[in-house]
Each structure stands twice: as C-alpha cells, then as structure tokens.
Symmetry: C2
Subunit: 210 residues, 2 copies
DNA sequence: AAGTGTGAACAAGTTCACAGCC
DNA sequence: GGCTGTGAACTTGTTCACACTT
C-alpha cells in the first residue's frame, strides 16, 4: 500500500458497490464513470480517482465491466466473507434493527440479541432468544464478534461500548444520541436522526428568508 | 451575513447544540472552546471558527456563556419554533420512528402517519390514526408540512419523495436504501446503516492485515 | 471515437498563532 | 492569565484536462 487512502473515499465505495449490484442484477455488463456519476450525483472524475486508489479496473474507450468492478469492490470492502454482529438493546428500535432484512443479504449475520430488561430476556425476536446483557462480556470472550450495534437508552451507551471494546470488538454502530469515547483503533458510526433534522431546519429557515 | 457558510459547519452546529443542552441542564454557566472540543473530539479552533460565522458569542479570558450560546444556536438552527413532520411507511422501522421520543422534545411534531397497506390504514399507532398514503397529496395541499420522513419499501421511495416535493416539502429524511433525486432547493438526508457497516468492514479488514 | 487514469491546478476545510480583550 | 476571534498557512479533497489505450 504505497499511499494512504482518504476516509471519504472509503465511505463512498459502498455507494458505488450498491449501484453496481443493481446494474448487475439488471444484466448490465459495462458502465462508464459518467453514468455512475449521474446516477449518484457525483462527478465522473471523482469516481475514476476514487477507484484508481485501488487499481486500474476500467478499459479506455469502453468503461468498467460491471461484474468485474462489483467483484473488486466486494473484495476491497471485505464483503466476500460474512461478519458477526450483535445487537444490544431490544426496544422498538432494536427490534426494527434485528428484523431489518438488509443486513443478512449483505453478509452481516446477527448472531445474538441482548437486553437488560427481565421482561424481554428469554423472549424470541426473529427466531433469536434475547439474552441478558449481563452475559455479554462472557459471551464475547467465548465467541469473537466483529460489529456491535448499540440501541440501548443513551445513558448506558458508553458502558455497553466499553464492554464491547474491552472484549476486542473494533466496529460499533451507535444508534443512541450520545457520542461515545473509544480508542483510535475502533471504528464508530453514529446514527442520530435528530441531528439531521436540525441541520435541515437551518436550511428551511434560510429559504423562508431568515 | 456577508460570506457563505460551509455546509459542514451547519452539520456540526446540532452537535454543539446538543452538548450545550446537556451542560445547561447540569447547571454549567460558562464553558471554553477547549472543553467543548474535548467532549466532542473536535479541535477548539474549529469550534471557535464555526461559531464566528454567526457572531461573537464568547468573552475573552472567560469562554462562552452556556445559556447564551444555547439560545443563539437555537435561533440559528430554527429550533425556537416547532416543525411539522409526516412519516410515510409504517412498517417496523416506521413504527420505531413514530414512537421515537427524541423528536417531540426537540420541536418536531409528527402530525400524521401514512401507509399503503389496507391492514394498517385506520389502526392506531402512538395515538395517531394511520392514514392511507393515497390521501397524502391532498392532505399536503390542505396542511403545509415541513419535513417528510420516508420509511417505505425502497422501490416506492422516489414516488413518495416526488409527491412530497411537488407539494412543497423542502426537507426529506430518507430511511430507504435507495438514493432519491430531488431539485437542488430540497434538503435530503439518507440514513442507511448498511453503508456504515460496509465502510467499517473495510477498516476491519485492514486491521487483520488485509 | 470514446472513456480511463492521473499529475497538476484548484477549491474547500482545518489548524496555527497571535493580537486583542476581559 | 486566560481565552476568544480571525487572518494566514497549511492540509485535505475535488476537478480539470489531456496523454494514452482500446
């Protein structure tokens, strides 16, 4: 790996991957950066530059082979294997996550669900018995997990994340509104719809002649 | 306001706002950019620069008045009023959204829920009668709505968004995995957890010595 | 003729560093 | 003494434009 690849580039690859999956399923065999860009609202130059960090996948005068590029991206993103995921916090949101059909099909296996409420522990959700979060630490020591999805009440987010990180989980998707602290070798993504709404209201206000 | 304010700055303001709310509720009266930065994982210089786009809210030698800055941000982001929101698509995800307690408290009123399924239309969710999406267009003409949250199956996302945009909705939060096309004067935010997982797997793969 | 790959030019965003004020 | 506000320096990211390949 000669030069460092910017994080923004990595963040765009899944977008390309998703579009190529669709094109592939529609039977398209070749596509240009121009067309990819139009579909995604990105400049063709950016797509070419992004891909060029990883290799030379296109053919001059023709474009990119859809199945070829799809395969390359799959390998780059590590989507050619399966990843073990646990969900902690099985309230309404956690249940929606646990039953979201988009994970399984993309290589993410939800192998366990955890909650703290005695009313929920032991019940079945999507064919999984909900386990007591008190057993999380011990379970992680027995079975390595790749990704933790945190959907507990905000005030418990940091505790749960600490448990995950201490047990060697290096990727966390945090659905709580609280930011969490992690060591630099842990990837964290925050999903907080309120922040999105609040940045949109700024723009709405502007339009109104604010 | 002489110069144009970068979008990245706007996107950070809700983060500051949230932290200040917390500090305010804890009774803190003054805070420095240093401390804000530590809490949020951002440099103090960036916070000062961001705020300086909107005014001079701090006092040299002391820092920022927490209630004052909170109020300023509230006004800047338009959070001093209430915003009308509709949710379209009341599956598991839509239901989780409709019952998410974080919206109401932040000035977002979910005034209607819509779904296409005859099994759902007419039922009660969180004290709201679910309406038929076929009536959405007419309803929007009668009652102006600020923000549309879209949680329908992906293949219907563009249709729903078109209906919203045609009726004058200028802010859309899209929970479907499909990107949607909108005119430039419409704000759209996409929430797609799979994209986050896929960018994290890239980094996980690197750690493993990929 | 069409479309990639890429160095170079450019634009955007971040951090520095310090004058100025409390 | 401490901390803001802000031009200037720097860094990062994007777009241009064209040589090159099919």
């Amino acid at each position: 790996m000669p030069i460092e690849i910017p994080d923004v580039v990595i963040d765009r690859l899944p977008l390309y991957y998703r579009l190529l999956s669709r094109l592939d399923s529609e039977g398209r065999s070749v596509v240009s950066s121009q067309e990819l860009g139009e579909e995604l609202g990105v400049t063709p130059a950016q797509i070419r530059k992004d891909l060029s960090y990883f290799g030379r996948f296109g053919k001059q005068g023709r474009g990119y082979s859809v199945p070829r590029l799809l395969d390359e991206l799959k390998a780059i993103l590590g989507l050619d294997g399966r990843w073990k995921v646990v969900v902690i916090g099985i309230g309404r949101l956690g249940r929606a996550i646990a039953s979201y059909p988009g994970f399984e099909g993309q290589g993410f296996d939800i192998i366990a669900l955890y909650d703290a409420s005695s009313g929920l522990v032991g019940t079945e959700i999507e064919g999984q018995r909900v386990k007591d979060v008190a057993t999380l630490e011990a379970d992680l020591k027995k079975t390595a997990v790749d990704i933790g999805i945190v959907a507990v009440p905000g005030e418990h987010a940091q505790d749960v994340v600490d448990t995950l990180v201490d047990a060697g989980v290096h990727a966390i998707l945090n659905y709580t509104p609280n930011r969490v602290q992690t060591p630099p070798n842990v990837e964290v993504r925050h999903i907080n719809p309120v922040l999105f709404l609040q940045s949109m209201t700024y723009h709405l206000k502007q339009r109104r002649g604010g």
